[in-house]
Symmetry: C2
Subunit: 340 residues, 2 copies
Amino acid sequence: MIERIGTSLRFTQGPFVESFASTAGAREGEGPMGGCFDRIEKDPYFGEKTWEAAESRMQSDTLHAALVKGELRAGDVDCVLAGDLINQCTGSAFAMRRVDIPFLGIYGACSTMSEALLLASVLTQSGACRRAAAVTSSHYATAERQFRFPLSYGGQRTPTSQWTCTASGAVVLCHAGTGVRVAGGCIGRIRDLGVTDATNMGAAMAPAAADTLLRYLHDTGTAPGDYDAIVTGDLGMIGTPLLHELMQQGGVDIAGVHHDCGVMMFDNAGQDAHAGGSGCGCSASLLCGHFLPALREGRLHRILFAATGALLSAMSAQQGESIPGICHVTELCAGEVEAC
Amino acid sequence: MIERIGTSLRFTQGPFVESFASTAGAREGEGPMGGCFDRIEKDPYFGEKTWEAAESRMQSDTLHAALVKGELRAGDVDCVLAGDLINQCTGSAFAMRRVDIPFLGIYGACSTMSEALLLASVLTQSGACRRAAAVTSSHYATAERQFRFPLSYGGQRTPTSQWTCTASGAVVLCHAGTGVRVAGGCIGRIRDLGVTDATNMGAAMAPAAADTLLRYLHDTGTAPGDYDAIVTGDLGMIGTPLLHELMQQGGVDIAGVHHDCGVMMFDNAGQDAHAGGSGCGCSASLLCGHFLPALREGRLHRILFAATGALLSAMSAQQGESIPGICHVTELCAGEVEAC
């Protein structure tokens, strides 16, 4: 059942997280989270001829790994929701060409994993699908040459810039089951406070994260202390303190339970990652590599997963437009349904 | 209620089409369908400084027009699903920056309106949203310079090429109501038969249209004669006979009831449109300008709306990749629920 409370959703009887898998590139594998991924691939081409084909291969491999871990076949999944950062979302389209599952393409920049989980939850809880998968990816080399400069140009990165992760995560939700489940969610609204610096996406996304988190906490009558972790996507070193400040302006202190995937992914000083990691695959791979295992194993019981997206393009930045931010929230919990 | 039959969905008690609006550019307004649009805008810049800003303005204006026609305010709509063809879907993101409604970005190239209607139907029928809007747009000048050449280059167009329409359509669905409703749908699978000619998208999309239409007809036990019209997105002059042939290979003759929005939009010889119109706004504007009014006024009673998408990018074409096609189907009907 789906209940609507204010602008938020509550899922009262599932869906359940049936399986999940994560993939990371070499640099991500060398970072502090390197031990959590199912696969670390040292070849940035993933055996393909172009970086774009590599990202598609990574995405379809990650979905395949989730199916194998769950002892599922493609025919067991009624729908895949997938997205990435490449122009016209070809990273996902070409990945899904190999996967004979009905496909809904979505785009929310680095918020895509939250959007996919939310829609997959609605599809499975409504009876539209028995199982739905949520998959996202990003690749440093595809993103860098598309959003910024050709890699061979050797452009200098600014201190506020984030490093697009080569990573992917895939989650299979089932309408019935036991264990970890999606308990609720909130669809994001665009927030744009006028940040025009395309190398400071953390600042552009923080207001959207605060907006959706404050709405979800208000609608559900919960406080940060009710959660073991409030996980954001890729606000990084710059956006994280801005989110804390915006939440405090809303009367909520999340600093004690907040974790940002962009901050977590790299040893930001030692690995020269500047303000942290980013990309659709950053929060997706840490969700599937770190947070979902912790929920399944009982180390965490209830978390909010709030991936954040900066909805810019290279052209919108060149045209002087500011950066619209968005953040979708999903609540994940383990154990009895009543306990959430 | 949502029922799953095979790989298709049936919506048994709605959702209902509460309001809709369409916008077209000057060239589209001069074509054979020119009389059906709510607004024809002769200024290709829609009063803005760039074509990209023009497309966003067109999209938010079209959604606003649908709200006004339905005597609705933004706060009455719980979610907007929107998409377009511009890199990173900025056409929609920047449009939705003006619209304070929770936003889910989707990407299905020219199939986007079908995808948006399907997801909006699931969201409203599941209790997740009371009302959800589906909005898409395309603009000749934004698409041409992004997918092909700068307009000022004056590139020669091939005979198989289609003309990206400057157009937009917006539909507001409500969980309850009367009149025209969405009665079912089917999520598309990617079909790629190896077409590598980026100027022949009709041929690339026809197999996907045949796959989803055949599945929906099979699952629902219906035949083309049960529908007043089977409407595809932008197969154009080349893709249309290919679809007829593929359907016949599946044992189904749709020629008598089939209409393709890409064929309909222009006087293809007189307006030098070659193989017809295309773009997310082509089928969306004809759905909202022509087909939904015909259903509301009783000139049509039951149709399939099957927008088709070619999931390529300029880079995928340059890299020699073939073109994955996709097509999502929605069934729209008028009158009593029992009659559908």
